[in-house]
């Protein structure tokens, strides 16, 4: 492990990283635009220059070299001595900032990036308060470069992070630099819009407000948003994200650095896939069938009702005709609590992993980033829970076959998919059960035949842990409270399980870990400092 001296302070760092990265990891703040640890190094912004000690060719004595070196392009070497805290380095930073702001419009009030903009932060910390520019600013045009992204060329600092992203990470290379000098522009090739499945990341990469999401444009000022660490439920990869919400409405999802899964990126499907959380047609109140009619039921009555029905149907054969479907949209804790409840009253009941929707094939990109074809976050976790509990396990097809044959009397089906998944055939088969409870987000043919219909909470309203397709258990927190009239799934199952009080995923995980040690450890990626990328 090499140790370098920065501003007279010794820091230990990883081998083979640039000095800039070493300083950032040690908690320092060095201004930089073009450097990003996930992209190739171009050293074009010249903002991160540092002074370095090199041996004098004549005397062999190490001394400060009059020239400045780009810290993003200089790899660390044991015993190296550099400094940022000098007049020459500060002077360079101030001059660079002045150049960046030459043509930059003063439109922070209407810019969506304001509040999380590196240009604002660095101007305040390393730049000038006023501009000496007397000429009219050169105003590059605003461009529509893709179905989801806008490019405000006048705000650009030409760091080319977006160009390198399109080439190196997505591997599609739609973006390029055209023209030179202060007329330089980022642009797409004619007829090739920026539409690759990872393109949303260029908006996060952009250190200024040049690339903006059309989806989030003008929706909120970023300082109103509250962030919650979460895991994307879009596919079985389990990319770590953060949910940005204000006044209980989700406004956007942003990737969270995770070296084991998604690095700094997230795909568009996950990024914009949260809209169903606020869909108007979500189920809102629990219903029970009494005679022909379905009527509302209070949440407090539900544990007793379910317990009574399950006991009645499990009395004869220890529940061999009972089945509980654990959806791959559930967290591990929720699946475990529900399965435990069913097994306590009906020890021979079958546990059924819910259907895992698949769309196409896995997509792998130039950088190794993968989008899984399996569009549910926790199939593996639910299967682990079922395997851990043992006993009868049916596949989804076996359940439908048994139900069609009429040998299922009690069924509890959980859904939670982003759209109604259960078909008419499913409904005809499972409708034959004497008691069918459905716990889902949206109305479907299956929910129409249910005896007991429970509205579920979306993933942003719940907490727990998902196990991704590599077997990595990652916790997520709830960002917003559930819809009015809806109870969090975990809380419902916690009460079914026989506990009182508030459901807390970590506590339930501790209970689970006593039986299944693989649930004792969760993986939470390390947090990066504010300007670390």
């Amino acid at each position: 492990m090499p140790a370098i001296t920065v501003d007279g302070k010794k820091i230990e760092c990883r081998d083979g990283i640039p000095v800039l990265q070493a300083v950032l990891e040690a908690g320092g703040d060095v201004p930089h635009y073009c450097y990003h640890p996930g992209l190739s190094i171009v050293a074009s912004c010249r903002l991160c220059l540092m002074e370095m000690k090199l041996p004098n060719p004549q005397t062999r004595e190490p001394e400060w070299v009059p020239k400045l070196f780009p810290s993003c392009q200089t790899p660390v070497k044991d015993g190296m001595e550099v400094r940022f805290d000098s007049d020459r380095v500060r002077g360079n930073q101030q001059h660079c900032m002045e150049y960046f702001l030459l043509n930059h419009p003063l439109d922070c009030p209407v810019c969506d990036k304001a509040g999380e903009c590196c240009l604002q932060d660095y101007s305040e910390k390393f730049g000038h308060a006023s501009s000496r520019m007397v000429e009219d600013k050169h105003k590059n045009p605003k461009k529509d470069i893709g179905p989801r992204t806008l490019l405000y060329q006048d705000r650009c600092v030409m760091c080319t992070r977006c160009v390198r992203f399109a080439q190196e990470i997505a591997g599609t290379g739609e973006l390029t630099v055209v023209n030179r000098g202060n007329r330089a522009e980022i642009d797409v090739f004619p007829g090739v819009p920026l539409a690759n499945p990872l393109q949303g990341n260029v908006v996060d990469l952009c250190p200024v407000g040049c690339l903006l999401d059309k989806d989030f444009l003008f929706k909120q000022r970023v300082w109103f948003l509250n962030s919650t660490p979460s895991v994307c439920p879009g596919c079985s990869r389990g990319c770590t994200i953060r949910i940005d919400q204000n006044e209980n409405r989700v406004h956007r999802l942003k990737p969270r650095f995770n070296e084991k899964v998604n690095a700094w990126w997230v795909c568009d499907e996950g990024r914009f896939g949260w809209k169903y959380v606020h869909a108007a047609d979500r189920l809102r109140r629990p219903l029970i069938r009494r005679g022909e009619q379905r009527e509302g039921i209070r949440w407090e009555e539900i544990p007793a009702t379910l317990q009574y029905q399950l006991e009645a149907h499990a009395a004869a054969d220890r529940g061999a005709a009972c089945a509980c479907v654990l959806s791959p949209m559930m967290s591990c804790e929720e699946a475990w609590l529900l399965a435990k409840f069913v097994r306590r009253l009906a020890p021979s009941a079958a546990l059924v992993p819910g259907p895992a929707p698949r769309v196409g094939d896995d997509q792998t990109f130039a950088s190794g980033f993968r989008i899984s074809a399996e569009k549910c976050p926790n199939r593996r976790g639910v299967e682990r829970v079922i395997a851990g509990l043992g006993g009868t396990r049916w596949s989804w097809d076996e359940l439908l076959a048994n139900a069609t044959a009429g040998s299922v009397k009690f069924a509890y089906v959980t859904g939670g998919y982003p759209s109604a998944l259960f078909t008419k055939e499913t409904a005809t088969a499972l409708g034959k059960a004497a008691f069918l409870a459905v716990h889902d987000l949206f109305a479907s043919p299956l929910s129409d035949v249910a005896e007991l219909l429970l509205p579920g909470a979306a993933w942003a309203e719940r907490d727990g842990a998902f196990m991704n397709d590599d077997g990595l258990l990652q916790p997520f927190e709830r960002a917003i409270p559930p819809l009015e009239g809806v109870k969090r799934d975990g809380q419902v199952f916690f009460e079914l399980f026989g506990q009182r009080g508030l459901y807390r995923a970590a506590d339930v995980r501790a209970l689970m870990a006593a039986e299944m040690p693989e649930f004792s450890q969760v993986y939470a990626p390390r947090e990066l400092p504010e300007h670390a990328h």
Binding site: L106, P109, P141, F218
Partner: protein, 196 residues
Amino acid sequence: MRDDDIILLREPILTVAERCYLPQILDGVRTTLRHMYNRKKREQTVTQYPEQKRELRLDNYRGVHRLNKDPDGRVACVACFMCSTACPAHCIHIEAGESPWPDREKYPVKFDIDELRCIYCGMCEEACPCDAIELTPHFELVGGSRQEMIFDKEKLLHVFDETKALKPRKNPAVTDYGLTGGQSKTVARPNAEPKV
């Protein structure tokens, strides 16, 4: 807060008469009575509202809000949310949208101020980068319901029309970006090109 911002005050030491409490009360009563029977003072202090109206300081009186219009009659607000960020009472609710005009990026689709919730502190006026929101000398606010007291964009623009004779709009500072804040075109450098 720095140490020299803090002013330390020592509690005054009370005399025996002051500690007896009653002489002080009588002293107060004497002042009240003196004002009551002093005709000149009474006429200076008391205004027979609503027959008489006080003379207001028009420049900085903090009455009902208005949304200023630019010289073209468009709303001057650029929906930057600075006022609702600064507002300590959280009474300003804005919904932003893309502006229909080529020289401007953003404009408020909805702009609601809950005048009952407002504490008339004037922070919104101070925060506004394009002097679009201002407080007017108009203070006689009445409404039949709470809903009626939530002033929307149209109503706030109407207040501007009503009060612009009394308190004309100052032309705001010009930014390098041109007409962001709806300045007069003669003052702003019109280097803003049409959007693509």
